[in-house]
Symmetry: C2
Subunit: 423 residues, 2 copies
Amino acid sequence: MSTLVGNCLVAQSGGPTSVINASACGVIQEAFRTGEINQVYGALNGIAGVLNEDLFSFNEESPEEIELLKVTPASALGSCRYKLKSIEQSEGDFERIIEVFKAHNIRYFFYIGGNDSMDTAYKVSRYAQKVGYDLKSIGVPKTIDNDLPITDHTPGFGSTAKFIATSIKEVGLDARVYNYSTVTICELMGRNAGWITASSALAKKYEDDAPHFIYLPEVPFSFEQFDKDIRTALEKYNYAVVAVSEGIKNEEGKYISEMCSDTQMKDAFGHVQLGGVTGILEAYVSQNICKKVRSVNYSTIQRSAAHCASLTDNEEAYLCGAMAVRYAIEGHTGKMVGLFRENTKDYHCETQLVDLDDVANKEKPIPKEWLNEEGNYVTQEFIDYVRPLIMGEVKIRMENGIPRYCKLNKKLIERKVGPWNVK
Amino acid sequence: MSTLVGNCLVAQSGGPTSVINASACGVIQEAFRTGEINQVYGALNGIAGVLNEDLFSFNEESPEEIELLKVTPASALGSCRYKLKSIEQSEGDFERIIEVFKAHNIRYFFYIGGNDSMDTAYKVSRYAQKVGYDLKSIGVPKTIDNDLPITDHTPGFGSTAKFIATSIKEVGLDARVYNYSTVTICELMGRNAGWITASSALAKKYEDDAPHFIYLPEVPFSFEQFDKDIRTALEKYNYAVVAVSEGIKNEEGKYISEMCSDTQMKDAFGHVQLGGVTGILEAYVSQNICKKVRSVNYSTIQRSAAHCASLTDNEEAYLCGAMAVRYAIEGHTGKMVGLFRENTKDYHCETQLVDLDDVANKEKPIPKEWLNEEGNYVTQEFIDYVRPLIMGEVKIRMENGIPRYCKLNKKLIERKVGPWNVK
């Protein structure tokens, strides 16, 4: 048990989610509860804020706003895409980080993010050990993509899955109201793993419900299969709703979204160039199958829809943040908080520490056995895996008819070390 | 007071909304309550279902499912885009409608829809009077576009406004997390009236909140103004979120969404062709102002998001349906149920009958005085008008983590007249 009394720092990185702030809230409130941490600092824009010494203190924020963080979407502390190279390649960055930590007596570092951020938390921990600075660095996972290995799932995924299942249920009802055939193509995030897209299957209750087919990056996309699928759905149900991952690729591994610059495709589509996957599939359908075709691209709506967040996901995100603090106080470092599903009838997850170097820069696709033979839908095993993650609704404080989300002051504290310049 | 005992028919038309089924539920439940109506029929796919004699009976549906209709999005009875011409031009259609009504002793006709549907309800009423068939035909307004005249607003609009304000608040938080400049362009429905797009302003609480600018069909779109606006927002806030109506036009009245086929635009964009308004504006921004630009097109998500419906809107939609029945029983025909806002401090609306010929085929744009001088934002008067319409949340029955919406059997009753063919 470490008895070190110092300050802590929490930062966020990568793409936002509906619950990344719930994890931050877990860190902050637990840090205050421990009595072993003086100042709870936040860094503006992730590791870039550490390098720039752009720090603010949660001791100066109102407890009510901090409580609201728990249900507020997006990265309230600010995010970045700055990636630290290896310790050898960017030793200057690491020196600077430790310099800033020392100046503010930061002894605990909590980094909430995806793959790259876990890599950063790991390297910072290793560098601190190397230079003999006593620091506990813990990674808190977040990514709507659910593509981190080892952990059963990642906070952020369940809420996106819940919103997508809800909205595709609704868009599916909307798509079937007419007495003529319609095709609706829904584009979802997940460039290399199809977890989000596959979760649209949770919308289906009856056989004729949307989505009818699902196209994932895990399975090479074939226009012949797609053509056959759309015709099958139209024949059976008079409407077709399909969910498509932004990252689908053809047999040669080329992104479908990039095929618009391909001569073959240009010819097939009469030199019309279109935006993204849905643009290409929409053009294909309208020229070959059915004129009434519509694209629905969920863009950032899907990762920010905290008004429709999963309570399970929200609580787990908070728990991961809070447990990160407890593990750090216990003396752990260079680890990530993982979620482990217990082998019980009712769903239950507990946190455990995971070695960061097992997680960093690795990806977890959907297992092949959770896809059907044609590769255009998921199996019941997949549904059974995801369903518990979308259960429960978060109580949102409403103000004037819309959610009242957190607004931090983020008043920067006085700098103690020299200038630096990370954009 | 009419003492006629007969059957009634309810049908839906035009684009779906989150609450068009609430209106249907109001009709059905009130019709059962009166004790003066035997069978409550529904027509499959609006007036096309009447012409085809595709009818089913709500007496055969379970009361639980009918109750669920109240919160279910999209047109559960099915919709159509079939438009009746004048009585002189399509007398055959009108004859057929009355023939079907006679065969099933339908004495009350409730048509829930937008502009065209009000036109149909009106013409059917006039034709019935002309041929001496005792029929009460009442129109029930619905349209997310809020473009019907006379009525203070239309059921469907408030729920779309609430979802859009909620989601743009969330997307706005998502858009500002990075330490570099980003531009987000949100495309919203409303081809000729900007009510939905303008409602995005309800998302703004603090000056730096999204949306920063709003572009409506009521104001000619200028690329110079747009360019200036985006640069202003980036300078002030380091991010820009703008809401754009699908129906914006340039000074010459040409839709911006159609400018991709224009030679001038083709040249400006290096012959790249893009989908819709957002595609064009996104290309403009990325080539002239900022590389980090993203489009968010709300497509049918915005009109089907019943999970985020406005309670006020939902209750008014139900009320309009229920009152339609009461007005019909009182002997009114050829009228629409309108909503009238009382001149009180607290918001309160009552229904009144409106002459259908005052409503049919007319449109209501946003009044000029509710737009700012530059035409790129709304005034406080607009906010004060819309705010009450988004208040309150609808309680949704959840099942397996997503809304449990209504599923009707729609078992067709035996036909009594000969075949007809409307697609």
